[in-house]
Subunit: 200 residues, 4 copies
DNA sequence: CATGAATGAGATTTCATTCAT
DNA sequence: TATGAATGAAATCTCATTCAT
């Protein structure tokens, strides 16, 4: 019983996830969502108040899943390097595993304050999770460090979305690269005279 | 006359830049652009084929300006560390200087292949510019390094858009932080036993 | 059992009466009627073919009650003045007693011929009832007189609907006023030279 | 120029007047209004913000015309009886002349407070105009008298709307009847023993 | 008898674009 | 060139009604 009603709710979310993810908010029509979910247009409105709320629900489910999985993986790891590697892996493979659905990823309605608030909060939570790892390692500027690490990963993931022939090995290579660069810096790979280097 | 028509072309671009930048593509109405530019709606179509092309033109002008300024600044600098600092500064201050117009930055129409192609090309050019600097420094994985550095900067810039009280000093601090972290890595700031550290 | 089903029929009518009466036909939703009646939406359709028929039934019950009560009161009175007073009282207090439910009174679907027919018939019956009283008094133009009297009363009642602080005393005052004006005319209250007055 | 733009505004109002008047607010579709006015659907929205405002504009134009004409006719008449006759004539012939367009007259959206406010104000203005006449005649209860007179007229007009064979002579007869009844009362036409009559 | 999830026709409204002036 | 009134396609959302349980 519960699962039956749950099924419809879920199939709407799934359909919306695929469409919003690949075409964006405005380009996705409620009729497409209904068709994809195999239900009538009006039925969507029994489960979601309107298009924006549906988008919000899709976003939340996705973000929560991202964070929850990350926490689980971090819990299973207890040394610092390992945790940084877990973060990199998670970030890259999360998108790699969903590359079909997030070809262009989210294009959200801009003027929805609730959504902006939610996304801000999501980013903060993600940043907090990374900061926590860094603090355990004794970092002095954990917030900027966390942001930097996340930024690196986010850019390194982009090619997943654009290059159709991106492989899991490519993802793993980037994940390792990111962790290494973050910890050791680029200095070793660059010819920087000691005298030139800015104070670390 | 030539300059007069040029003026109109420019004022449309300026108006569109402000509106697209602060409200996004779909939320910006052609009538608003016309009003802001001080011309009639129909006149826009004498200069731009349609809304998407106008958006494209706005994006191009912005991206080209970004790259051109970057090249100029890099040309004036000849040591590696200096160039990395220039990149960081440019990235952060470009957005800092335009924070009024890019509060939410661009929300583009997703299904316009030309735009997607252009954005891809822009990112590539930006990456190439950074790679060139890194290659001069002898980097072994210049592309991943360039992407990582750009990613760091892009994330560190986010707070400019979200925190209204972000100051120029905050921007400068982050720019220095980014360059330092990129070169030296986080190791020095973290308690990582040598044995634990992955090979760089 | 009969009474149980009767109860449900009645509670639907009661709910619909309150909602149609205060919000109008189109503004009242079948789901609201169901909720107010404490039953499921589908159940309404076991008792009434559709929304229009429900509206019709509500209207009929109300109109029939209005006429039935009037007849009873008229039967208990046997002089002409008394009967006219009864009519005035009945008209004003009927609405006064229901002012909660008829704040905006009925807004009916316009294109339902059955309803139009019923309302016409109701007005005719009401007019007939008043005419009968007037005929017993020997009136020469009983129909126009009856319509005029009803019209006076109907307008004098309006303030009940609009002024929330309308009291029962106000209603009684208006009822007396109407009967007096109808019988004696305005002449006594106006400075009309005999010569000016039209022939009665 | 002015008249050209005015023409479109007017033709929308005319079309809406006819449709709202004969079919009611909800039953009238904006597409019908556009078709009747000979323009495109979207054009209506250049002149009126939405359906409710169009309805409001139609109502206002009608009510203002009613009051303005009444004032003009009253200004041309200077004895009391004549003015009362003018009011009766105006009320009946206004509807008689428009019987095509007001077969069912207005059925308004119930929940529009602006419209309710406007209608209330209109009724007050009409009442005031009648009161002014009565006050000049020295009436003691001018408001109740005015309401009563208007009510009589409003009911006497109803048959215009329902009986297709209602003639101008019928209207004139009713107008005279109303004025006579209002001034002289029904007493003369009824067998009411003096003793029975309530105090006037 | 009773339910309420599901339906889908249909209405209002927006806004990019056109074109006669 | 420049205008801006007019267009009409297209999208969201509502809600009376049905029907399997």
């Amino acid at each position: 019983m519960g699962s039956a009603s749950n099924d419809k709710h879920t199939s709407i979310l799934d359909a919306a996830y695929g469409l919003f993810g690949s075409a964006g908010f405005y380009e996705t029509k409620m009729s497409q969502v209904a068709e994809q979910a195999g239900i009538a247009k009006g039925t969507i409105y029994l489960y979601f108040k309107n298009k924006e709320e549906l988008f919000m629900a899709v976003t939340q489910r996705d973000c929560e899943g991202f964070l929850k999985q990350l926490e689980e993986k971090l819990g299973a790891e207890n040394n610092l390097n390992g945790k940084l590697a877990v973060i990199a892996d998670h970030h890259l493979f999360y998108y790699y595993d969903r590359k079909q659905h997030t070809k262009l990823f989210f294009r959200a309605p801009n003027n929805n304050p609730e959504l902006v608030a939610y996304m801000t909060q999501f980013i903060e939570q993600y940043t907090q999770a990374v900061m926590k790892v860094l603090l355990e390692g004794g970092a002095t500027e954990p917030e900027l460090m966390a942001q930097s690490y996340i930024g690196m990963l986010d850019r390194l993931k982009m090619d997943i979305l654009f290059h159709p022939d991106f492989t899991a090995d490519d993802a793993r290579k980037r994940s390792l690269f990111a962790a290494g660069l973050f910890i050791n810096g680029a200095m070793n790979a660059l010819h920087i005279p000691e005298a030139e280097a800015p104070p670390s």
